[in-house]
Symmetry: C2
Subunit: 365 residues, 2 copies
């Protein structure tokens, strides 16, 4: 893995691509976030990427993100300054300015909006994130495992509405912020989990931006060589090719501020005659074969790649007839702890199964 030290305009395409891959179907459309970041870099110059250990222990580090159903962001373009507005609201409450920005999750939008904010605010971005992937709810971050409070949390929408939340715990933050997001028209920009450098060193998942850039480069170079990137991603990331097939059915609805649903796939080539079902809530959470046998489940990553181009496919763009590779990847080991599985394991999402690792589920017998 190569270490990212600065993000220039030309890096944004690969970062948006790698972010969309780790977004496991969620985390927003990569195109919009990429445009926002490119514009901000054009106006303000490249963004320094720093290791979390380079932060002073008393530095103020703030993640910024889009919250809501990514489906909505396709039709409700951010105005561009809401994320900065959310950051400034939070700074006003805290009585100090941020020293660095970071990404709450990986994803097309949420790996790129923070770069746009860092560029606009003239701040470095930390090489790390709070999920190592995307998850649908905002308490689902490594910071929660380390007792860091999501509040004060600032929210802003494109109309000019803004607010600052202070809740008793991170699950309450999610619940309040979610209904507010719905009232904002389905999506809003947020700044939350303000933390010190010392807290960040303990809590965040390291190296995510470098990994995202690496993944983006692998996908681009394999595409350039007319190869599907799945093989090399599997080899380099320790992933598993779960399925190849065609989308035959997508049931997707925007409800309670989420894009929820399921998609069915019929096998192609060596998977002929088999079927696979993916269930999602913004992100893909469960992959099962036609007879209900799980092949991968949250918190492990389930990623969809276009069979021809190798481009990541998000839950909101997936449509009938798409030919895809379904790809699985082990999650960060922190998620496999008891606390981690309480936060993001299959039972939290209502699946009546105990977590089994993707490695175990796909052991060669």
């Amino acid at each position: 893995m190569s270490k990212l030290t600065t993000i220039a305009r030309d890096d944004m395409a690969t970062i948006a691509l790698g972010g969309a891959f780790l977004g496991t179907g969620g985390g927003g459309d990569p195109y919009i976030g990429r445009l926002m970041a490119e514009q901000a870099i054009d106006a303000n110059g490249p963004v320094p990427v720093i290791d979390v250990d380079a932060l002073d222990d008393d530095a103020l580090v703030v993640p910024v993100a889009m919250m809501g159903a990514p489906t909505v962001m396709l039709e409700k373009l951010p105005r561009g300054d809401e994320a900065i507005g959310a950051l400034r609201s939070l700074e006003a409450v805290l009585g100090r300015t941020a020293d660095a920005i970071f990404c709450i999750e990986a994803g097309g939008l949420n790996s790129t909006i923070p770069i746009a904010v860092a560029a606009s605010a003239g701040l470095p971005i930390v090489d790390g994130d709070g999920m190592g992937r995307a998850f649908p709810e905002l308490q689902m971050v490594s910071m929660t495992m380390f007792g860091i409070h999501a509040c004060p949390m600032a929210m802003a929408d494109e109309k000019g509405n803004a607010l600052v939340l202070n809740t008793v715990d991170n699950l309450s933050t999610e619940k309040f912020a979610r209904v507010i997001t719905v009232e904002m028209g389905g999506a809003g920009l947020i700044a939350l989990y303000p933390m010190t450098g010392a807290q960040a060193k303990r809590a965040i998942l390291r190296g995510s931006l470098s990994l995202i850039a690496d993944i983006g480069r692998i996908i681009r170079s394999e595409q350039a060589a007319n190869r599907n990137p799945a093989e090399r991603l599997a080899a380099d990331l320790g992933g598993v090719r779960l399925f190849e097939g065609r989308v035959t059915d997508v049931d997707r609805r925007t409800e309670g501020g989420f894009a929820r649903g399921r998609a069915r796939f019929e096998g192609l080539d060596s998977y002929q005659g088999q079927t696979l079902t993916l269930q999602f809530q913004n992100e893909f959470l469960m992959a099962e074969t036609g007879d209900g046998t799980p092949r991968a489940m949250t918190p492990d990553l389930i990623c969809l790649l276009d069979l021809e181009t190798g481009e990541p496919i998000t839950t909101e763009t997936m449509a009938y007839g798409f030919r895809v590779i379904v790809f699985g990847l082990p999650c960060d080991p922190k998620w496999r702890s008891d606390h981690g599985l309480d936060l993001v394991g299959p039972r939290y999402f209502g699946y009546d199964v105990d977590y089994q690792t993707i490695e175990k589920l796909n052991e060669k017998s």
Copy 2:
């Protein structure tokens, strides 16, 4: 009308009663608010009542209130310090402390909670309010007619969750605060419409607390003389006795943060053989006879009194078999302006009729 200059413990019973009457079925249960105010006065002494003209032009005046479905407040008792918490949050945002409190509306809870807050905070309360009655939505105040913004607005619940809203207009404040109220479990405590003394002098409806105390005293003295207070209230307040009857049907649901529904009444005594329907959203909004002829409509006041005791009956306590007097009262003339009717006229609430005054609807032919 006698002018109220101070509120002692012994005044709370009549104020809660008069507030419940002007609450037109809403504004919350008088008992809880009365207890809260009595405890606060016991601990901190009587509350001075001041005329709005006694305020310095640059004084900071803040209404505090309960927001939500009053039905909920019967089961979800306030902890007592949420309202002070909301006030303190708002003061923190404004960077200054309040000089006086006032009531956003008349009602059992919302005429009494501000007294409790004023006592606890050691502040005077202004003799006035923003509605001259109760209305279900928070943009429905005279302040909106005078261009005063509801934000910054602070909200707090009994669990310790709190937030500060800044919206683009007062209708947006209502929409955001309403979904948050629902997430708070149906009700929350709020501090909003921070305004200067100069703004308050222009915008608020004057003398409401004195009027509420007067109404409370009339009800109590008529009860003591074994008379139903309806006759004297009609004479003193220019009101109309619309109906006497028995509740035969109540359809009431808590939805979207409101108590909504309708109640049907069958006539008693001289009203034998007639029926009346009341429709409500927290407050009574429309009174129609059995053939659909309106007898009174928002913004005029529709108040329900127990036929035997003369006690005001709220929409949440009204039940099958109650024998009642339905009483109508002209609203403050400000509400009859075009702007006032846009905010609180029958069409805003979805009734397909033009506003007609209660005087006109009940002219002797």
